[in-house]
Amino acid sequence: MTQPMTHLRHPSVSSPSLHNDTDPGKRFLSRDECRAIYERLRACITRGDLELAIDSKWTGTHRFSSNIIRTSRDVRNNDVEVSRNIDDASYRLGGNQIDDASLRAMVRRGERYLQMSSEVGESMLSHRLRGAPEITERHGHTLPPAELARQRQALSILANDEESMTSPTLFFESTYSMDEEKRAAAIEPLVAPAKRAGLLAGGSIEVIAVGSAFFSTRGSSLYNPMTRASYSMTVRSPDGSASGWAGVDWNDWDRIDPSHLANIALDKCLRSKNRVRVEPGRYTVILEPQAVWDLCKDVIMLDSEWVTTMSIKHQQRHPDGMDFTPGSGTARFHEQLFDPCVKISQDPMDPDCGFNPFSGGEAGHAVTWIDGGALVETPYDRQYAIQRLHQNTGLLNGPAHRMHGGTTTVDEMIATSKRAIVVTRLSNVTLLDKNSWLLQGYTRDGTWLVENGTITKSIMNLKFTESPNFVLANIEQIGPTQRVFSVNDGAAGAVVPPLKVRDFSFTALTDSV
């Protein structure tokens, strides 16, 4: 029903007076381009501190379903954040434009902002803003002189002493070169085996390239380019009786083996046919790495709410916390929460899950958060580190984490199980109760019953009601780690092992495929 656009064949071509410095089609900004923006912005101001954070991003996506490419997209965008601090006042403004007019407008808005603040004689405290003005009271009580002195010292160090940063390699040409032609061509061979088997394949390939920059008048000049590629695929029988899934993301497209993953999804679908019902109840479960991630990601990512509700409030360590009383709220710090095999860490230089080493000018470091099943560190920022711990660096909770594994393979877990359920992944996971971190959700895309050391049946999907706290405390076996599909969960990457866990709670059956 589409019509040729005859009325637009010879349009007027008079140029509107719009100007932008960006070249057409440019995917993301280089270090020099980001610095040039910073210099232009700096030229607009006469005094005070200036911070500029830029994320310029390109995303290329192809989505397919029922064995056909449905949509593709090629999107570029910028995230520009300007923070200023003059005397006791500061502001932060955001936008996506990098032309002179937009930058000038941002500065002008900020100046108005500061003028308003100065008129009321109070400073605008920007949450977690480096160089934030000192806090002189809490809960209406003036802080003691020693506290104020510590704070002033911290602010002085923050203003004059930049942290050293690591330089992980997160940019890969293999990912960046995945243009629309290559992405489209990559899908056909992935879909072909499913098509030949009379099945329906659906999934996506997404590649991202980001240039992250941070500049400040205190001397910060940070830039890190990063790429990320993700691939996931579901294969389903046309009658909706069987389904299989596989997926992963890496910074380097060359580390993804799409054909292998496509075969896994196909194999799972074929093995999911003829599903039978098993009664809900408590089972030993073998959670494949993706299922472990789906269930335990709040723990693995050290979700701040999870930390809080575990009574590990570490308020005395938190600069924006409500309490300076040492020792309060640390009841479960260093306590044995989980099985001793549980270890969770981060490292920006980790070759399997590295991450951008800075956030807002603050450095990310290698940290072990959970060791021997106990929480041994909690995140805090640099201001707190200087002020309270007399250290020069904070512990930033990075966006990529590793849950360390063991040596028992999934096959060995199956072989050593008298009766267990193997789970590929979990879906629609939602939090029911914060205190126990109780979750509900559903198994999906491949669930099997193990009897006497072998998989005997494909089973219908089950609803679970379970807590990751319980799961991580009831581990029977732990396997070798692998990178999982975490791109939709706000993570920059995750490496997770498979687990065999006892007494996992399934509460209902569902007919869903």
């Binding site: 509107p16 057409p24 502001y91 403004l93 009321v120 659906g202 209902a508 007919d511």
Partner: protein, 539 residues
Amino acid sequence: MKRRTFMQRSATMATLAATHPRWSFTSSPVFNTSDLCKNFNSESVSEIGRRAVEAAITAGATYAEARLGRHLDESILLRGAAEEERHGMSVRAIVRGGWGFAASPVWTLEEAVYLGCAAARQAVENAKYAPTPITLAPTPPATGTWKSSMKIDPWTVSVEEKCDTLAKIASTLPYRDLTRSAKAEMNPAGLGGTRTEHTLVTSEGTAITQTLSLIGLTVNEQVGIDDPFRPSEKAKAGQLYLVQGNGWESIRDYDFSTRNQHDFQQLFASLHKPPVQTKPLDIGRYTVVLGPEAMRAILILLVGLATDLDLITLREMNTVGTSYLGQDPAAMLGAYDFGSPLLSVTATPWAPDDLLAHKWDNEGVIPESVPVIKHGILQDFATTREQAMWLEAGYRKLGRPLRTYGYSALGEWDEEPARDIPAFVMTPSTDGTSLADLAATVQRGVYIERFFIPFLDTDPKHAFMTDFQMRQTVLPIDQSQEIVNGRLRARFARGRALVCEATQIWKNLVAIGGAASQAHGAVPGLFKDMPIVNPLNKA
């Protein structure tokens, strides 16, 4: 702008307010907000769109459309303000039956040409692997401009006037007395405004610009609302909307000396109700009367989501999931039986009081109501232009014209058009049955007034109260009462959930309310043999 987007932005404003709890604004320099943003001539913007479309057509597209979007956000607290401006452009094109989509934040003629060509280039690649060419349902070209209904554009009002108005309102709020008595921390009022401009130019001759404006006055409070699904936990913050509107007059004319105080106290009281005596609800199967609000929630999840053609046709199989209705929507027309002749549902573009209502959808179509279910039989779907074509065989079989009803969501410029989730109106019974009449027929049962479902109105696909095929839905009960011998009795404690099996629930529907009982677009319903469980129970 999607509801979700606005809600997210409102939340940002709430956070800002919570971060700056003390305030005492005096005066500020006079600036018009619009002075601080680049002024774009609408002709220039349309010209960029035309150039992008022309580039795509020149590159071989049989159809192309360009969207230029601009978003302005403003949050004003008494100690300062924050603003953000973002804009960008996208081009979507069909070449040889394949789609291509390209977007960037740059508004130049050169970029427009680049994006037009990029979209066409993608479409060419995709067409190689698309055996069935993409076509769009016919629609007449739309031209013109449209603005939200407002007398005074909030973006022409000086910040000084906004701050003065805010200060005046805030000075009358009795929050100090109230918070002292309730041991709650109440933060002062804030003004939040959002303006979005959407320009669409297509190769079929559509050239429209829509401007949506929304402004609201909020108060943030820090004690929060009980979360019935997490009975041991309280949310840490809540937000009260004192007033919302499209134009500045809705704020300026607000009578904060009397009505405002009354409203404020009412709102505050609603969040801090004294504890009500409740009794535990035993798990089991019950005859259940659902109030209109509870019925509306079920309609959104089990009809609204389930009739999304992207889910039915497996396009979201790898992500959100699919639909329990099946996979062939054309065959469902006039055939799929929900199981109860009492169920008749019409999809509407938005509720009558929706401040985000607009003239055209994201494809330049004027939205119309759709009869989705009539006497239990599925009649039609709320579709986009592409989705309507998937129903062509069904329409032909039924002798109906091929058409779209205009349900492409007015989204962000960097998002591909997607189906909007309509508002639903349930047809009442003709016999004037009231809620009390329904309850009167129940010897022993449960009246459910409301469920607790986060994201129901903003992002129901991620409400996650249902499985990935929407077969089984577990709905946490927020407000419920005992029914004994036909009368409403004691309130039940929270912590229970109603389980709905999608293919079964309507078969359990015995009676529905009449027109007088209609609220929230739904009517109350009487269901037999409905399971109520404790969702926190492990196996």
